[in-house]
Symmetry: C3
Subunit: 259 residues, 3 copies
């Protein structure tokens, strides 16, 4: 029996749930496939402003890929290329998501689970969350494309600790090493993740989109063109900018409409 | 009434003060313009060894740009390009400053204030300092050139927290996330900043200049040439190098003359 | 009298010791030369799985280069180029080492010592360890090639603190700023370093080698080729991968043979 991706929405916030309860939400190939579809669909929904990604229950965000599948689904180079193309499409969908994304992390956030969380914009976890990719004890190496994305978040020194030592980091250490944005008590993770989502919803949605685009653009070495610089003032023509300034000067909370 | 940039010197250390008391030292366009001039002038003063940048009073380093100006000074793409060219010249002047620079930070260090502090070599702040750029609630996006400079210090994950969530970080969190060099008790910030300036003055001034140049040079991907490597031994011909070795071997404090 | 590089092995773990007891293990030119030879020789030993680098005794990892040599060995540009070519070869040997490397750090880890530790994959230190490169008070600048390697670990902001202020960081601060992997009580450093070595030995050795190669490859901007991606599945044909999966599914510890 394979796992699945559940999703639902509450106002402007959608929640995507990795669900494979018998295996600590280990991500199997059906889930990778569905995750790409679901995230791409939600990203296109103009009524949404924020995505929360989580694991089902409170035991795990996701404990990794589904190892049991590997002997059938990742047994040859061709199969492995296909498997990781699928995983890569899901990770890319999270990375490319137009909306701000929050990983809500309970318990195990390992291997493929850590790769998904690393693609989110923000990571909120509980004190008993744990992070790692101890695949040195499974006898395989990380797919380079996935390693590259994780390296961007974790840095080379922490990647060496995770991959060479196979170390599992607790929440406090993961915070100190930049793997997560914020640690709260376990029973406050849900509350804090959705409070964060609300704070995102209180900002101007176009500004969030532009900031995400710009941060990705700046990952490229290529210098900014005059045209790109001029385009960065697109906000000048928006009702939200006028509202933002007016609200600031009137010392009241702004009400943004997303235009 | 617009703010101004004050400056003064005490021996080899100059202090540059962002002064706009009625607005928590918010940086207006007159101040951006003066800041570039003042920093460039002090950087050329061969009698100086270190610059301290601070806000007037103890309420704020600088609470941001001066929002009240925006509806007149940043209302069209042309005006916005001109406004940010001015801000960019000031930020670049701090970045290019030949002398080591220290941001002395009390209270609010927000938006443009954070951008100025990020260009300094070291940032010393008090426990109640706070850092952020919550412009998502003002309805505008950060100018890409300014974002790039801040991204270099803060990293992408922290930039997402600051820009998408609009989060304000306290001093301890700002330290953990690499936004500041050191946090001390509020009443010790001035003392610690000037003690740091004195430690800088106790080093060889040419070495400080070379280290700044090299760190900037290494930001470029371009490999180091044979000539650059040979030039890096320019210290061999200096009186300061001879003094440094002699003092070390004699177990006494060195007295550098800057040559 | 010059220092020397000692080495020995215990099963799959070799230990390399910087030994110059009279000078807190300061690294002289004979030691730089030997360090390159010893590390290259050990890296080629197929019976080894991990290298531990340490200083002799418990006072220092290494307190820097051997300043007393400088007036004779680094007095002209030609001599300086030759001296740093030698140091560079040693640092490169540690960086290129096929085996995972652990720096076991007691006490002073300064200048050249910090440069060596920074080239190791992991850094385990005691609470009283201290880190820095206060060469601003010696009147010389860091060799750009060595600065580049240290910059990769420490980041530009911390490099400015170390080089411009000449600051010496304690263990807790070094951890917070990413200079070390882990801090333990002084009397537990040896135990923790070798426990880390054993954890590395419990992983598949080929996987460790591939992870090291991939992490270095990803430092280059050049995109991954289709061929490199296919080659990353070399593990599929190894006995260690079959053993890793079998052990996982049988919920037992794997026994890897290195093939």
């Amino acid at each position: 029996m394979s796992g699945s991706i559940l999703y639902g929405r509450d106002g402007e916030v959608a929640t995507v749930t990795l669900a494979n309860a018998a295996k600590l939400n280990a991500v199997d190939s059906a889930m990778w496939r569905q995750l790409a579809l679901v995230v791409n669909e939600l990203a296109a929904d103009t009524g949404l402003r924020c995505l929360v990604l989580r694991g089902e229950g409170e035991q795990a965000f996701a404990a990794g890929g589904d190892i049991e599948e590997f002997s059938s689904q990742r047994d040859t180079v061709e199969h492995a290329m296909a498997y990781h193309a699928q995983a890569g499409a899901a990770l890319q969908a999270v990375c490319d998501c137009r909306l701000p994304t929050i990983a809500l992390i309970h318990g195990a956030c390992i291997g493929g689970g850590l790769e998904i969380a690393a693609q989110c914009d923000l990571r909120v976890c509980g004190e008993s969350a744990r992070f790692g990719a101890p695949i040195n004890r499974l006898g395989f190496s990380m797919y380079p494309v996935e390693m590259q994305a994780l390296l961007r978040l974790a840095g080379a020194a922490t990647m060496r600790e995770l991959l060479l030592e196979g170390r599992i980091l607790g929440a406090a250490e993961a915070l100190a090493k930049g793997l997560v944005t914020r640690v709260v008590a376990d029973h406050e993770v849900v509350g804090e993740a959705y409070a964060t989502a609300r704070r995102i919803c209180h900002g101007a949605p176009l500004v969030a989109r532009w900031h995400k685009q710009l941060l990705r653009r700046l990952q490229q070495e290529r210098p900014l063109s005059e045209e790109e610089l001029r385009d960065s003032f697109a906000f000048l023509d928006t009702a939200d900018y006028r509202e933002g300034l007016a609200a600031f000067l009137a010392k009241r909370a702004p009400r943004f409409r997303g235009c």
